[in-house]
């Protein structure tokens, strides 16, 4: 796997923005055909509980914009000093132009600024961090604004139990900057494209354009309804992938960095669900106190925004109290794609979770 290390680059601030509307699985008994036992099993085992979702007017770009505005205001970052903006999303406002250009305009960034999108989901935040580190380490940029967010709730069919209760929405803004003497950051990135169809929205791209047929919701053998424009997930295969590849990737990155598992302060995994996180943690024999897991129960699986949300929502106090916080971040999912990073988090000047206001 491609592994790399960067010197003199730091993560300077993170803000995550979540929509205010909360849904709770307890209010969705009808989705489970009134089967209370099944609902209780899902709550107990998978940890499904609450999630925050957008209305049909709000997009990932809106959430990311508010996160970015807050980050800029609180950190006093001069807009003209942003050399590049990277937007990680699978739910952009338009098929073109890219969200990064749209947000570049809305934020009023300088024309001397690169702007590009990265089409990745659950692994996307770590990929975005890696890209930002690469751009800065090469000398091309001093400051990169990484905007990672998704509104997957708008892609799921409300009558599909296999995905509807899982996904929430979120947007984040992270400032990465050149900082001589900053601790070394380590990254690894991997892909298994043969599993591209295990987590997919089949229609709406060039391969299968939208039509009356793709909009039609069809019942599957398990009694779930979805159209070709909805998100489809082969849950068991994604689960298998996660518990096979994630522990291996984490171990390999720690070996590469020559860091003992115990020396890592936090393991911030993509907040898929408590069951997957618990299984990964168990296989790595991690101390559960070091593994944030509440984010997914409060906000849902937020795709590319889940790791920054877990940092802002669960670790902000802990990392500000410490001189150093070594965190292993690891995202895995659609692609199939997975990526891990070992980074320092106590250099953040801001680490905050905010509610979106329209």
């Amino acid at each position: 796997m491609p592994k790399c290390r960067f010197k003199d680059v730091k993560i300077a601030g993170i803000v995550t923005c979540v929509p205010p509307l909360e849904k709770c699985i307890d209010e969705e008994l009808a989705l489970f055909g009134g089967n209370l036992k099944q609902l209780e099993r899902l709550k107990k085992t998978i940890g499904l509980s609450k999630r925050r979702v957008v209305d049909d007017q709000t997009t990932a770009a809106d959430l990311c914009e508010q996160a970015a505005l807050h980050l800029i205001a609180e950190s006093g970052l001069p807009l003209k000093q942003v050399d590049a903006v990277i937007c990680v999303t699978q739910t952009p406002d338009y098929s073109q132009p890219c969200n990064a250009a749209v947000l570049h305009g809305r934020l009023g960034l300088s024309k001397n600024c690169a702007a590009l999108d990265v089409n990745l989901g659950c692994s996307g935040y770590v990929y975005g961090l890696w890209l930002a580190h690469t751009m800065i380490a090469s000398g091309g940029c001093k400051r990169v604004l990484l905007l990672a967010g998704d509104t997957i709730s708008r892609l799921v069919n409300a009558k599909d139990r296999s995905v509807a209760p899982l996904f929430g929405d979120g947007g984040s803004a992270t400032l990465i900057e050149r900082s001589p003497g900053a601790p070394v950051a380590f990254f690894s990135l991997q892909t298994d494209g043969s599993g591209y169809d295990k987590l997919i929205v089949p229609a709406g791209g060039a391969r299968c354009p939208r039509s009356a047929e793709t909009a039609l919701a069809v019942e599957d053998e398990a009694g779930n309804f979805r159209s070709l424009e909805n998100l489809f997930m082969e849950g068991a295969e994604i689960f298998n992938f996660s518990i096979t590849e994630e522990p291996r990737a984490v171990k390999e990155l720690l070996e590469y960095a020559e860091v003992e598992t115990d020396a890592v302060d936090y393991f911030v995994f993509h907040q898929a669900n408590r069951y997957i996180l618990g299984n990964i943690a168990k296989r790595l024999k991690l101390d559960l106190a070091k593994v944030p897991m509440q984010t997914v129960e409060r906000y849902g699986n937020q795709s590319s925004a889940s790791i920054p949300c877990a940092i802002c929502g669960e670790l902000a106090t802990a990392i500000s109290d410490r001189a150093s916080t070594q965190a292993l971040l690891s995202g895995f999912g659609v692609g199939l794609s997975w990526a891990s990073a070992l980074v320092e988090l106590s250099d953040l000047s801001i680490c905050e979770l905010i509610d979106y206001s329209a």
Partner: protein, 84 residues
């Protein structure tokens, strides 16, 4: 060469019963058609896959769970995969 197999059916059934939420331990047998259980759903598929991975170090696919009928047949499938 096949090594003597340490995984007995009785233990496997107990592991299965513990893996599937709401199933009482001691209620299933080798001839149980597990996919007909009231508790058998997509969640049970996950928890059984996790149990098989954790206890036997075998990666079971959801598709493979659909290709066998009874717990004894599932046990044999896992044993075969383990030996392969």
């Amino acid at each position: 060469m096949l090594t003597p197999y340490i995984m007995d059916l009785e233990t496997f059934i107990k592991n299965f019963e513990e893996a599937v939420e709401d199933v009482e331990v001691g209620t299933l047998a080798g001839e149980t058609v597990f996919r007909s259980l009231e508790q058998w759903d997509s969640l049970a598929v996950l928890t059984v896959i996790a149990m098989v991975d954790g206890e036997y170090d075998v990666r079971l696919k959801a598709k493979e769970l659909k290709q066998v009928e009874t717990l004894a047949a599932l046990h044999a499938l896992i044993a075969a995969k383990k030996a392969a």
